[in-house]
Structures are given as structure tokens and as C-alpha cells.
Symmetry: D3
Subunit: 173 residues, 6 copies
């Protein structure tokens, strides 16, 4: 059984010492989603054609949140991110409208960027909620999860997305 | 059809003017969850008996994130929160372990605290992920949603939780 | 001669005590600008038609900076902003392209929002510079100035814009 | 025509991937200014002799803002700054008093520090405005611009200051 | 025995609900100190005569930290501070040089400002340490404590300073 | 006599240029303390047995503050911390209860981490004060000081703790 790495000798949380880890290229991809009603779906997509669109604001929020990750997550190491890319897709079926959010984060450093990708995905989704909540407060955010990570000595992670049946994932394209 | 309130005359996003809204008591309750494997479930609950527990750190993260909400969500108004309370429950069935997160936020102000509750719930869940990811990166965060809000002239919101079948909600107690 | 209000008895800076000031509606309008070359002008305006536009990002930056004002300006009182609206106009003449930025801030509080409007205008302009600097680093930001303020016992301020001849102000519309 | 580097395949903004850029010494020098009236000029310079001076506060604000740059400018990469130096000069002519602000930023990293220099110059100027606005709100900030940058594969930048006739630049010394 | 107010029903920390507390004038005075060697004492006091002085920077740091208090102290309520004043005194005896720091904070709100005064005093002292540590790292910060608070229903607090014998307090003047 | 390194040619503060310093492993250990009364001592230690304990919250606050150091201390260089560990001990004698706080910070970088350790120790102590102040506001924080640092060309620092007689240091264990 692998051990928790966030606790010190007094059984308390600490920021784990990563001084000895080598600096390598790290990537992580996370996904989230927002389930909205038809009215919100139509408004978001119609505004997207005009200049002011919900997704543009949400995307900026996600990128800025990625940079704030170590300020939000207590034991998370600060990392100088090298790249963040957020994209959107819609997956609609039978009056259910799912905005799919995909975040890719990249850096060169001594620890992974999973938390940055997950935090950016969450902030993006929360911003969509904020901008549409005057229409309907019933939106559902997520699930939010890691799709893959690369880099670091512990090996890569690749989620078997076929196991996510029922979650709002959508196809990679 | 109600209109989006976050866009100005140029079709761009703005922070909506709420100068004329009256200052009243506002509450919001949001929920999130983290689906973990058996090993993480056992480690979290066993550590909870000792001093250093994952949930204590996650809870502090959630409360601090509630205070950062208007710094994370671009069009969200800054609000002086008056109270934040985060509690945890487990809902386990057939080798599935769901940590349920419930956040209640309260203030007296001229706009609601839905975003603060949702942001706190998200940060709490993300922190659980961060502290347990050395064991397994397959954890799934959320769904994250609003349960209820009170205060303000637009009326209260109360989600019909029976419609959330299949989501990890758990009973209020 | 009116006295500086930011110094204490030791001749040092302090945050002036405003406990006795009454809470009233406060507004402020500030302007800034970015002088760009033809290539940048064309790229910004063409991208504005598509989804990803420079101005959308700059505007979000400006609104978020307005909320950070008291964190950036040392002696500035924290204020819960009630509304921020940023709009853009172009003023082009003889191969000179000026992006005009206009920020309007509103709150109800015991001190004015001039600094919030000026800070938002500056951050908006800086973001335009950041997003276009790969094309040309010769852009010129500003001048940046207050157009008007209302509220508070010291009276309103209204700049005589006819005195701004040669500055990139543009007409209000 | 060089292309905008801040947009992804969906035409949306992203934080550009700089993982492959090499870490080299980077410098940038930016300038701003504040045009003040005679009363403010005299007060600032007289207070400068005593302990509490406007410029000391403004300078601290500028240095702290340099460190916040990637938190203010959405697509700006976080960078660990190695040195920031801010200096002031006065350029007065015919009842016009111009406080000239010069910021030099240095780091070793994989992207330039133009935005840090420009942001610091802006925050310094805004703080001067804040501390003097009780005397006169008519002050004018800027123009604000880059003077030079070095480091990085895209070559250095050096502004021909003789083209800045009419702007408040002042001589380098 | 009075009860801890920071724990919820699960025995976990929460941000205490202060919605029902009335908004009144609140003040707090805190003190800290830095014990320095003769060389540092002389350098600080001599630089104070010139424009760049350690205390000017430390004071700005203290005021800005007061505004960040609720971001640093997890269960601390956000408060819009109305005034912060920091002053310095020296108390020297037998080759011991004590820089005394006194912070006074004032607001009108529904909770006290003790934490803001203590946090500002700490940040002021830490900044003095930072700026002088190239000369000697043996400086000692504090003790740091509350001198008095007023406002709120729980009554005022006034420390009997005669009990602080041996601590570096100095006389009020 | 060594010179202050924080002043530029105009006698003003600057962030010292460390571009030429080599990146090496850096460590620092700082200590602080909180003197509490018997009631608080008993409550903290009893709560420590249950899930919600003061020290767990204080420790999270300390670690998060370590990451915020360059945002709090104006001339402090930003640094990507690699590890932070905070531990507690009690030293009680004759109705005096001293909570001893020990912070160890580690990184690989071009400047030391003394300020990060001292800032974390201060924030930890301040949080203990905040969580217990409803019981007694007479608590005394600190003294706070550096115990040792390693790394960097200026040599290591090791405090002779026998000279700290009367300060609340406690034994290393």
C-alpha cells in the first residue's frame, strides 16, 4: 500500500519536499462540464457569434485560476506554468445540453501539473455558472477529472474513458 | 425569456450594477463530492482519527477559497462573507466510496452567495484530490451543484434532490 | 493650500481614517488608450469578429483589476464594487490607430472609486499590449486619466475634455 | 505578417506554450510619468526631504506590482523576477511638472519581462495619483511605453526615443 | 468556561456566523518590535534621513498586510478597513537596540480588527528583518501582542502594560 | 561594515538583482511561539484529540503564508518553494503555557528562504491567536527568529540557542 505523502512525523500535513525531483516536461489534461437547460444553451451559442461570449470570459477565468492553483490548494507546490489551453465542445442529447471543458497544462518543473489542470477546469465551469445563473440556477457542474498526465518518475497516467459511461466526456477531436 | 445580465451595450461582459439592490441576509448551500477507491477511503478515515487528516486541510482550503471567490470568478461581485461552514459525509456502496461535501455560506449584502458556496465546495474537493493523488489519480470530483439559496428579490431556490438520481448527494442530516 | 491626507504625525504614509465619512453612491469614469500600428489594428478588429478577440480578454482583465485595486495601491481603501463597465472605441487618423478604453465604476461606500477606474483602465491597456506584443513592441499606452467622479462631500469632478487636445480621448457616445 | 500567438485552434485565447524556449537573461526598461500641478510638485518634493515621501510609497507599489504581473495580465506567464529597480526624475517646463518614472526589470527565464516593467511603471504612477488626488484630480498618467528589452531568440528591442517628441520621456542618465 | 467559537458540529473549524452582530466602530492597537545590533540601528536611522529608508518600506508592507489579513488567517472574516496608522520608536539600552512598532487599525463593521492590527505589526517587523538581514541574521522579532481593542458587544480590552516587564514595549506618546 | 543591499543609487529601495547568483539547495528553520493561559492550553490539547484542532488550521495557514511571502514582503524575491514542514511542541512551566512553533523550509534557488520560514512561523502563530481570542485576548506571540539557514555563497547561519535564555525556544527533538 503506497503511503500518503502529505503528512509529517506529527501526523500533520506538510508540503512534501521535492527538492530532489528532477525538472522534466510535465503535461496534464483535465475535463469538466456544465449541464445547462435549452435556454442557456441557445443564449451561450448565440452570444458566441457576437463579441461578448460567456465562453471567452470563462476561458480567461480558467487560465488565471491555473496560475493561482498553489494559492488555492494548500499543499500544492508553486510552479511556473509554461502553457495553458482550454477548449469547449457541446454534447447535446434529448433536451440535455452539456458544455464540455477540456484543459491542457504544460510546464517544465519538478512536480506534475494535475492540480493546475483540474483547478482551471473547475474555475472555467464555475464562471459559466456565474454568468448564466440569472437564467437558471439548476445547472450542474462536472464531474471533473484527470484524463492524462505525462512526466515525472512515477509514470504516466491515462484514464480509460470507456469506463466513464454516463459521465459527460465527449470525444477528443 | 429572461436576459443575460452580464453583457453591456457592446455585447461585452461587465460586472452588473447592483447599487440599487437592498442589503439583506443571503444564504446558499452547495454540494460536491469526491469518488475515491477503497485504499484512499481507508486512509482518509484512519488518518481522521489521528491529528493530521485530509479533511481538516480540505476544509480550510474551502473556507479560504470562499473568501477568494470574486478574485477567481471574473464578473462576481466582492462580498464580505459573514459565515462559512463545511461538513463531510461518506456514502459507500459496493466498493464505491463517495466523500460528500456540503458548504453553507451566509452573508448580509446586496447580492447572493451561490458562487461562494460553489467555489468553496470545488476547492474542498480539489484539495482532497491533491492530498490523495499519490495513491490514485483516478478519483472523480463532483458533480457540484447548488442545493438552495435564500435572500434577494428574485426569490429563493430549492433544488428537488429527488431529481438528482444517480448523483452523489446523500441525505441531509 | 490643501494638505496631503496620506501622512501621519511622523511624516509617514498611512491609510487615512474614513470611519466618519458617510456611505453614498460613488461613480468614476476613467480613460486610457493604446496606440497600435496598422497590422495590430487589423488583427484586433478581424479577430473581434471571430470568437477569440483581444478586447474580450483585455476587458476581463480590467474588471478583475478593478477588484484588486486596494491590493495594488498601498494606501487605497478596500471597497466592495457594485458595478464595472468597460467599453472600447477606435480613433484612427493618418496611419495612427488608437484603441480608446473607457471604464465606468460604481459603488455605494464611504470613499470614491477613482483609483478603481484608473487601475482598471491601466490593466485593460496593459493586457492589449501583452496580447499584441509579438507583432510590435512599439505600442504606446495612455495617457490615462479621470474623466469624472460623483459622490462624496468634496464635490464632483468633471474634466474639461477640450483641454485634452492632442491626447487620445475620442467622443463619448 | 507575423501571427498572433495568443489564440488557440478554436480562435480563443490561450497561454502560449513556452516549454521549448531556453532560459536566458532577460531585461526590460519601461517608462511612465505623471503630470501634476505646481502645488503637488512642491508638496512631493518637499515631503521627499522629510521621511514620509510619496515616491517611497509609489516605488514600493511598483516593485510589488511587478511581482503580481502574471496575476493581473491574463495570458502572461508567471516568472520569478531577479531584480527590479525604479527611479524618478522631474522634467518641468512652463508651469508643467512631469514626474518621470523609469523601471528596469531583470530575470533569467524562458520569456521576456516587458509586461513586468510596464505593469510596475503603471502601478507606480497610479500610486502617485492616489496619494496626491486630494490636492487635484486632474493629474494625467503616462504615456507608458517600453524603452528596451534584451534576451530571447526574437531579438532585442530598442525604441528610438527621438520619435517620442511631445511625450514626457526625459533623458536617460 | 467560554467555548471555542471556531468549531462546527463535526468538531471542525468553520468561519463563525456573524450575520447578527451589529456594525459598530472598531479599533485595535497592536505592538511588535525588532531587536537589532548597533550596525543595523545606525544604518536604519542614517538612511531615514535620506530618501530611502527601511521604515518607509516596512510601513507600506504593514498597511498592505492589514488589508490581506483575511487572506492569510483562515477563519478571519473579510473586513473593509477604514484606517491604518503605523508608527515607530526606538528603545535602546546597553548596546541593545529595539525598534518598536505600533499599529492602530480602525473600521466600522460587525467584527473586531485585532487580527488586522497584529498581522500588520508582524508584516512590518518581517520587512525590517528582510531589508537588514544582509547585515545580520540574528535579529529577533517581537514579542507581538494586542494593546487594546474597542467596539463590539463583548467589551473592550486594555492590556496592563506594567505586566509586560522585560518585553520591548516602550511608552506610548 | 557590510552595506545595505536594498537601496538603489537614488537612495531608494529596490529588489536586489540576483541574476548572477547560482541556484543551490537552500534551507531555513525559524521559530515562533504563542503564550496562552491554562484554559486555552487545555482546549487546544483536548480538541487536538478530536478532529477539529486549532493546530491543524494554524499549520495550513503557515504553509500557505510561506507561499505568499514575496507578496507580503516588498523586496523579497519570488521563489518556488520545494518543501515546508511545521511542527508544534508545548513548553509549560508554572502556569505559563507556551506553544512552540518550528518551521522548516527548503528550496532550490538563487536566494535564501529565511523570509519564507519567518513568515510561515508568524502566520501560524497569528492563526492560533485568531482561533483562541474569544477565550482570552492576552496571548503573546513570539519572539520569532531564525534558527539556522544553509546554502548560498554568504555562508550558513546557526544561532547559538543558549543565548536565547528567557525566550521560549524549547529543545530540538
Amino acid at each position: 500500500m503506497s503511503s500518503f505523502t502529505h503528512f509529517n512525523d506529527q501526523g500533520r500535513a506538510k508540503m512534501v519536499d521535492i527538492t530532489d525531483k528532477t525538472s522534466t516536461i510535465r503535461t496534464a489534461i483535465a475535463k469538466s462540464s456544465v449541464q445547462v437547460n435549452k435556454e442557456i444553451y441557445e443564449k451561450i451559442t448565440q452570444n458566441a457569434i457576437k463579441k461578448g461570449d460567456v465562453l471567452a470570459v470563462a476561458q480567461v477565468a480558467g487560465i488565471m485560476a491555473a496560475k493561482k492553483t498553489s494559492d488555492i490548494i494548500p499543499m500544492c507546490h508553486p510552479l511556473a506554468l509554461k502553457g495553458v489551453d482550454i477548449s469547449f465542445n457541446w454534447k447535446n442529447e434529448e433536451e440535455e445540453y452539456h458544455l464540455l471543458i477540456r484543459v491542457e497544462v504544460k510546464t517544465k518543473g519538478s512536480t506534475g501539473v494535475e492540480m493546475e489542470a483540474l483547478t482551471a477546469a473547475s474555475a472555467t465551469a464555475l464562471t459559466v455558472y456565474d454568468m448564466c445563473k440569472a437564467v437558471d440556477k439548476g445547472m450542474i457542474i462536472g464531474p471533473t477529472f484527470l484524463i492524462e498526465k505525462t512526466g515525472g518518475k512515477n509514470g504516466d497516467f491515462k484514464r480509460d474513458e470507456s469506463l466513464l459511461d454516463g459521465l459527460n466526456v465527449g470525444d477528443e477531436s
